[in-house]
Amino acid sequence: MKKPDPTRRKILHRALAFGALAALPGCDYENPQNPDLADDVLHMMSWFNDRMQQALFDPHTLAPTFSADQITQPPRFNAFYDISQAPIVDPASYKLELGGQIQDKSPWTLGKLRTLPQESQITRLICVEGWRVIGQWSGVRLGDFLRRIGADTTCRYVSFKCADGYYSSIDMESALHPQTILALDFLGAPLTPAFGAPVRLRIPTKLGFKNPKSLTYLGVSNIYSGGYWEDQGYNWFSGS
């Protein structure tokens, strides 16, 4: 067998990888601080896709729900770190801090969150990678919570910070969707660290990475704050 000529392979690689777009070089989003032309094109299109998804979003369209026997067992862990690194938050001393355009910014304990009406759902979580799992979550409707704390729901964004350093933000329309909840329970029991204890966002109208876990902060604002993956190139809206 003849060994492939490395220079020819390299040329083939380039021709295939960039095709007619020879003017748009490079491994994309490689260096977010120094965007090249390809990055600028992709950013512009991602912004356009955010607008298109906002236009496509119907607040009355519900994500499909499933029966208990369709729940994925065992549940699938996923994060940007190994399961052993999942943050341990003491539920007794836990507080959800509030910020931004909110009238009553006093922090919420877990006990207080449990006094609010609880909403249960069996929905599908679709990962940006393509796989999907079905799970049961229950907790407080985010829309109810935002009204309860006197949040200005005319603001554009609701942002989240997490105990593991993760952060994300969503549009207000999706935040007020009836299936968007601050989940406290998963599969009928309080959330475990790997699955976002003690409080996580569960939003079945968006991809999995828009469901931040172990929330420590919730903010309401008109200022875009991006997200952990969004800042690296994932589309911000990422609606399903």
């Binding site: 392979r9 690689h13 095709g19 994309d28 992709l42 679709i126 393509g130 999907r132 190139g233």
Partner: protein, 209 residues
């Protein structure tokens, strides 16, 4: 119409709108398939992944970004092609009639090297390939929209048999398009005189006496 104007402007094999749409589609398809393979690799449906060498983007985030950028070109251009092809009679003239017996006959002729290529006229096998790739193009867009928006565009998702099945439909339609692409490029290499006319438009040969 006077005879002279007919002589002055001979009919092109490929009209200008078709040529523009052809090359825009070629660009969109290459970008969509290369970035699609990158996305596939993040969560493979089968027991293989595509080598990084032939994927576009370098990592999942960029693969998705390219895919969701070029899908608009693919869809807008594809829609323009369908409207143009139906309204100008292009589909009716080029792809009709198409019967299984004609396909079989032309296959037999091709394998015995007795199939003549007449520029501007498609034989039954070509008709089948072009009609097939148009249908695969429609399937790839519908299943793609189903995967992108399984909640908001739930009707496309239902049409594909749900989100999970839509990924397989999307993959299959891609495979059909790649197979067409391979045959298409191979035939152009075997009959290179067909290439310039897709750029310049070419000249329709005079009808044989």
């Amino acid at each position: 119409m006077p005879e002279t104007t007919k002589r002055a402007r001979p009919r092109k094999i490929h009209p200008l709108p078709l040529r523009i749409m052809h090359w825009l589609n070629a660009l969109a398809i290459v970008m969509m398939i290369g970035s699609g393979w990158q996305i596939y690799d993040a969560s493979p449906l089968f027991n293989f992944t595509f080598p990084t060498l032939i994927t576009i983007g370098g990592w999942l985030g960029a693969g998705i970004a390219w895919h969701l950028a070029f899908m608009w070109l693919l869809m807008a251009n594809g829609l323009a092609y369908l409207i143009w092809g139906a309204s100008t009679g292009h589909f009716r003239r080029k792809l009709w009639p198409l019967s299984p017996s004609a396909v079989l006959q032309d296959f037999r002729r091709a394998f015995t090297l007795r199939l003549h290529h007449q520029r501007g006229v498609y034989n039954a096998v070509q008709k089948l390939l072009y009609a097939g790739v148009i249908l695969a193009g429609i399937a790839v867009v519908i299943s793609g929209l189903a995967i992108w928006k399984p909640v908001q565009l739930w009707f496309f998702c239902d049409l594909c048999g749900g989100y999970f099945a839509a990924r397989y439909v999307h993959f299959t339609a891609m495979a059909v398009i790649v197979a067409f692409f391979a045959i298409h490029v191979l035939l152009v290499l075997l009959v290179p005189k067909t290439l310039p006319s897709m750029i310049t438009g070419g000249k329709m040969p005079e009808p044989q006496p």
